[in-house]
Symmetry: D3
Subunit: 160 residues, 6 copies
C-alpha cells in the first residue's frame, strides 16, 4: 500500500532520507493554461509592435523560480538543476496560453516539483504583467504530464 512518504510512522513531517539513492538523469515536464480576455491575448501576442515582451519576462521569472523550489516547498530537497526549457503555446481560439516546462537534473530525487513551480511562476508573472488590463485571468490545469529517471521509472499522465 502506498503511503505519504513525507511523514514518518508517527505522522511527523520530515525530509525523506535519499542518501542511498543513485544519481541518475531525471526529467519532469509540467504544464498549465492561462486563460484571458481576447483583448489581453492580442496584447501579449503583439509584442512585435513594441507593446512589451510579456512572455520574455515570464520565461525569465519561470527559469529563476525553478532554482527556488526547495525554498518554497518545505519537504523538497535542494538539488542542482541541470536544465530548464519553457515553451509557450498560444491557443487563439480559446484565448489562452499553454505553458510547458521541462526541468532536468542529475541527482537522487526527481524534479516534478521544480517543473510545477516553474509553470506556476511563469503563469503568475503573465498575470502580473497583464493585470492592469485583465483581472479576470485564470490559471488552470497545472499538472505533471511526464517524468522519467529514478527507481520509479517513467510516468506519463493518462491524458494531457
Amino acid at each position: 500500500m502506498k503511503t505519504l512518504t513525507h511523514f514518518d510512522k508517527d505522522g511527523q513531517a520530515r525530509m525523506v532520507d535519499i542518501s542511498t539513492k543513485s544519481d541518475t538523469i531525471r526529467e519532469a515536464v509540467a504544464k498549465c493554461l492561462v486563460h484571458m480576455k481576447p483583448e489581453t491575448f492580442r496584447m501579449i501576442q503583439g509584442k512585435e509592435i513594441s507593446k512589451g515582451d510579456v512572455l520574455g519576462v515570464a520565461r525569465t521569472a519561470g527559469i529563476m523560480s525553478a532554482k527556488k523550489t526547495h525554498d518554497l516547498i518545505p519537504m523538497c530537497h535542494s538539488i542542482n538543476i541541470t536544465g530548464v526549457d519553457i515553451t509557450f503555446h498560444p491557443v487563439r481560439e480559446k484565448s489562452c496560453i499553454e505553458i510547458e516546462a521541462a526541468v532536468k537534473t542529475v541527482g537522487r530525487t526527481g524534479v516534478e516539483m521544480d517543473a510545477l513551480v516553474t509553470v506556476s511562476v511563469t503563469a503568475l508573472t503573465i498575470y502580473d504583467m497583464c493585470k492592469s488590463v485583465d483581472k479576470d485571468m485564470t490559471i488552470t490545469d497545472i499538472c505533471i504530464i511526464k517524468k522519467s529517471g529514478g527507481k520509479s521509472g517513467t510516468y506519463t499522465r493518462w491524458q494531457k
Copy 2:
C-alpha cells in the same frame, strides 16, 4: 484605453513608480482548487488518525511564500504584508480541496500577486506531500476573487 503598465512607452519592462501613491489598507483574496483521487482526499482528511498533517504543512508554506512574492514575480514591489489567512474547503463529492487566501497590507500597491502566490504555493505543497500516492493531482481555478483598497477601489470577480 488600458495599457500594460509594467512596460514604458517603448515597450521596456520596468518596476512602475508608485512613490506618490498613498498608503492605504489593501486586501486581496485569491483561490484555487486541488483535484485528487478520492483515496488521496481521504488520506488528507484523515489526519486525526496520525497520518500526518498535509494541510498544516501546506498552510505554513503558503504563509511563508506570501513574503517571497517580490522575489518570484519580477516587476512586483517589495511590500510589508500585514496579515495572511489561508482557509481550506474540502469538497468531498468532487474529491478536491478549495484553498482561499486573504492577504493584507498597508501600502502603496495592491496584494493581488501575493494572494495568488500564496494559494499557488499552498496547492503545490499539497501536491508535494501527496505525490507519492497520486501523481495525477491537478491544480485549477487560480484567480483573484476580490480586492479592495487603493485608487482603483474594489474589484469582485463576476463569478466565484
Copy 3:
C-alpha cells in the same frame, strides 16, 4: 486570558493582521552565551596577532541575519529594520562570550524575533569559525532581555 495569537479560534496558524496597529519606534534586546574551551577563547581574543577576526565575521553574519527573520520564522511579518547593534562581552573566567543584539524598527510590530535570530546566527557563526578546534562549544541563554514600543509597552526580563 492570554492566547496564542498566531492561531485563529479553530487552531489554524495565520499571520496575525496588524493593519490597524500604529507605526511606532520599537526596540528589542536579546542575548546569548557561547561557551567554549579556554584555548578556543584565547584564539578568538588573539585576533590582534593575525589569527583571523572570528567576531568580525560573526557580527557581519548576525547583522545580515536580522534582515532574514521573516524568511526563517513562518508567522513573522516582514518589516524594515532601522538599526542593528551587536556587542560582545568576553568573560574570560568562564571561557564564554556573551552576545547582545539591539534591533530597532519603526513599524506595526515588534522586533523580538529579529533580535533573537541575530544573537543566534552570530553565535552559530562563532561555532562555525571555531569548530575545527572545538566541537564541544555550546550556546545557551538565548532570551529577550528587554523590549519597548508598541501597545504592550516595555518588557524587562526579571533577571538578566
Copy 4:
C-alpha cells in the same frame, strides 16, 4: 596543532577549498532545549484540543531552515541535504521541550552547522508562536551531540 581552518595563514577569512575531498554519507545530530512556563508547556502539548499545532509549524520551519544554512553562516559551503528529521521530547517536570535534529548529506563536507541551524530555528519558531503568552522562554544547550562521515570520522559529545 589545530588551527582555525576558516582563515588563511594571514588571518583572512575564506571558504575552505574542499574540491579534493571525497563524497561520503555524512550525518550530524544537534539538540537544544526550550524552557518555558508550565502554562505554556501545557498549551503546546494540548494541541489535540484545537489550540493550534505549535510544534508542527516549528518542525516545518526547522526543516526549511536546514536548506538555508549556507545563506546564514558566511563560510559554510552550499550543499545538497539528503534528509532532515526533527524529534521533540517534551519534559513535563522541567517544563521544557528538547529538540533533536538529524541532518544528512552525501558530500565533501559535514552538516554540523545545518543541524545546529535546524534546532535553533525550530526553537526560535516555538518562541515566536508562544511569545504572546510567555516572553520569558529561554533556549539553551544548543550543541552537536554526534557526527559521522568524512575524514575526521565520528565524533560523540562527552555528555549529552
Copy 5:
C-alpha cells in the same frame, strides 16, 4: 570631519540607526559600461532577427536584483523600493553598452546601493548571456551619477 558611519566609535560594524529620520522620496541614478567585441555588440543589437533578447533578460535580472540589495550588502537597510527604470545606451563606435538605472523609494535612507547593485547585476547578466562568444568582456565605470532626497540633499557627480 566625515566619518565612516557604518562603524561605531570603537570601530565595530553596525547597521546605522535611522529610526528618527524622515520618510522622504529618494532617488538614485547609477551607471556602468559593458565593453565587448564588435561581433558581440552586433549579436546583442540584432535581436530583431531572432537571436534572442540579451538585454531583455538582463533588464529583468537587474530589476529583480534591486530588491535583493539588503541581502547582498551587509550594512544596508531593507527598504521598499517604489520604482526601478533601466535604460540601455548602445555606443556602436566604442562597442560598448551603457547601462543606467534609476531607483526610487519613499523611506528613511537612500537608494544609492540599490541603484549600484542594479547596474552591476544587469551588466553581469549581459556577460553571462554572451560569455559563450566573448570571455573578454569588461565592466567599467560603475558609479553614482546623481542622488536626491533626504537630509544630505542632492548629489551630482562632477563628471558623468
Copy 6:
C-alpha cells in the same frame, strides 16, 4: 561559428542542459578595481587604529554572494561551490584597491559568473562602507582573468 548558448534556435532563453557534461574541478579568477579619494584609501588602510575593518566586512559579503550567483543571474545553474578566496591588493599611488576572487567547484559547469559576482559584491560593499565620506568612488575593470577545467579548457585573459 560561436552562438549565444543561452538561447535556443528560436531565440528563446533557456537554462542550457548540462546533464551529460562531466563533473570536473573548475576554477575561475575574476578581478576588479575600486577607485577612491586618497583620504578614503587611507581610512580603509588605517584599520589598525580602530577605524573599523572595511575590507573584512567586504570580504565576508563577497564570499556570501558567491553562493547567491544562481539567484542573481537568470540562466546560471545552481552549483555547489567548493572554495572561495578573496585577495585585496591596495595600490597606494593610484588610490585604488584591486580585488581578486578565486572560486572553485567540482561540477558540470564553470564558475566564471560566481567569481564575477564575488568581486562585484565585494567592491559594492566597500562602496557602501565608505559612501558617507566619498560618493565619487568608481568600480572598474570587472573581468575574468583566468578559468580552468571543463571541456573548453583553460582561458587566460590576453592582458591582466
